[in-house]
Amino acid sequence: MPRESRVIATLVELADNLVDNFDIIDLLTTLSARCVETFDVDAAGVMLASPGGELQYVASSIESMRILELFQLQANEGPCVDCFRDGKAIINHALHANDDRWPLFTPQALAFGFHSVHCMPLRLRGRTVGALNLFRTEEGVLSDEDVILAQGLADVATIALLQHQTALDARMLNDQLSNALNSRIIIEQAKGIVGQATNCNMDEAFDRLRAHSRNHNLRLTDVARSLVTGELSPEELDAPRPHSSRVETKR
């Protein structure tokens, strides 16, 4: 698909997801996956700020343990923290072993094979609520056009946090952020259950949860919750189609 068509398809898909009862983790996972497909990056992920202002990992294009750890590390330092704190994008930051800007993050990212990072703030009417992080295995630049597009996609996804409100109400936004972060914990608990019961690793477990949620038109968090409470057994989950769960659109 030509790039422009892909970007339009992504915007339509994100907007299409902003229906009643959408799942914020699912939406941000879609955003991360589309960033990898659309831009010249190898991994993408989203961190959201808790009501108190601590960044926490919520979604990524790959659910591997290494990527998750790279995000978890950024609760304390890294491009997401700087981007969130300053409310400004970090673009084309090359990672070097002797760079001491992020003494914990940089060596870890290099060890995982990443050589440059970008980070865009997730903004809602002047309040920064998180950050979109893009990783490249090669050093290289994101074009100005790519930066605008990536920020645009991030902004569309962020609107989801406002739900049906037209104004930004700090109290409602706190409740939303808190629910989003708790959803992520529910998904992790469910991944453990699926991983143990069906003998698969954690990213496969996530794919199974997501495939089941899509096939049955259920919210990802609701599928995860039913598994943890025992209303749904891991054996009843649909198997993910090979390589399909992050690429296909809803329906």
Partner: protein, 247 residues
């Protein structure tokens, strides 16, 4: 990175006297949010709620009323798993709490707010705030309510898992955010041991404390399948990485 606000709250909780720590938590919660009262209800598995602490006699009465009529902020937090806002106790809350609202209002409470004490599907209890006058929480009060709920959830879980107060304080300051691998491990142990997610999470935490290790480190061994739990023998089993033999 812990925000300034979180550090303030952690210090206030740490300074709470150790022998009456849980009582002081509610005092700290009311003080930090500048609200008239705070109470913590813990959810038991039999659907009852136990009062852990109340900052004032009125809050204690509010919890007693709730136990008597079977509705109120704790029950609503428990059934919805969500934040509960009743900014105008009498005018707004009749429909939600037909029996409780007029009685609660008679005690002099004008507004009630409930925050879930939760870690994913694990619902430990509710942090309830009361204010004499009606009105919504401010943005800062809501932020502090969420922060307190998050910190108290982890503190209560750690306490139930047998950790000493000093260990808990250290852990909270060291790792302000949630550790996803701990929750994956709890999911795995719940299947291995046939336990609820709450009991599985407690088991993982308790094992970390008895081993003098961090919960994240124990959890990583579980997720990498180097550590398993045998429910029949009530034993943790460490598996050597390559030859599959059991230690």
């Amino acid at each position: 990175m812990p925000s300034d606000r979180l550090i303030t709250i952690l210090h206030a909780l740490r300074d709470a006297k150790e022998h009456e720590a849980s009582i002081s938590w509610c005092g700290v919660a009311a003080h930090v949010t500048n609200l008239d009262g705070a109470g913590i209800g813990l959810f038991a598995s039999d659907a009852t709620t136990t009062l852990l602490c109340a900052s004032t006699p009125r809050v204690r009465t509010l919890f007693e009323l709730e136990a008597t009529v079977g509705e109120g902020p704790c029950h609503s937090v428990r059934t919805s798993g969500d934040v509960i806002n009743e900014p105008e106790l009498v005018a707004d809350s009749w429909r939600r709490w037909p029996s409780y609202a007029p009685l609660a209002s008679e005690t002099g409470a004008g507004a009630l707010f409930g925050f879930p004490l939760r870690l994913g599907v694990v619902h430990l209890g509710a942090l309830v705030f009361s204010r004499d006058t009606p009105g919504e929480l401010t943005g800062d009060q809501s932020t502090d309510g969420h922060l307190l709920a998050s910190v108290l959830s982890r503190t209560i879980l750690a306490t139930q898992a047998g950790a000493a107060p000093a260990e808990i304080a250290h852990e909270l300051e060291d790792n302000a955010t949630f550790d996803f691998v701990v929750h994956q491990a709890a999911g795995m142990i719940s299947v291995q041991a046939g336990l609820s997610i709450t009991d599985a999470l407690l088991l993982v935490r308790a094992h970390a404390y008895t081993q003098g290790n961090t919960a994240a480190s124990i959890a990583r061994q579980i997720v990498e399948r180097r550590l398993t739990y045998d429910p029949l023998r009530a034993q943790w089993i460490t598996r050597k990485s390559d030859d599959g033999s059991v230690q």
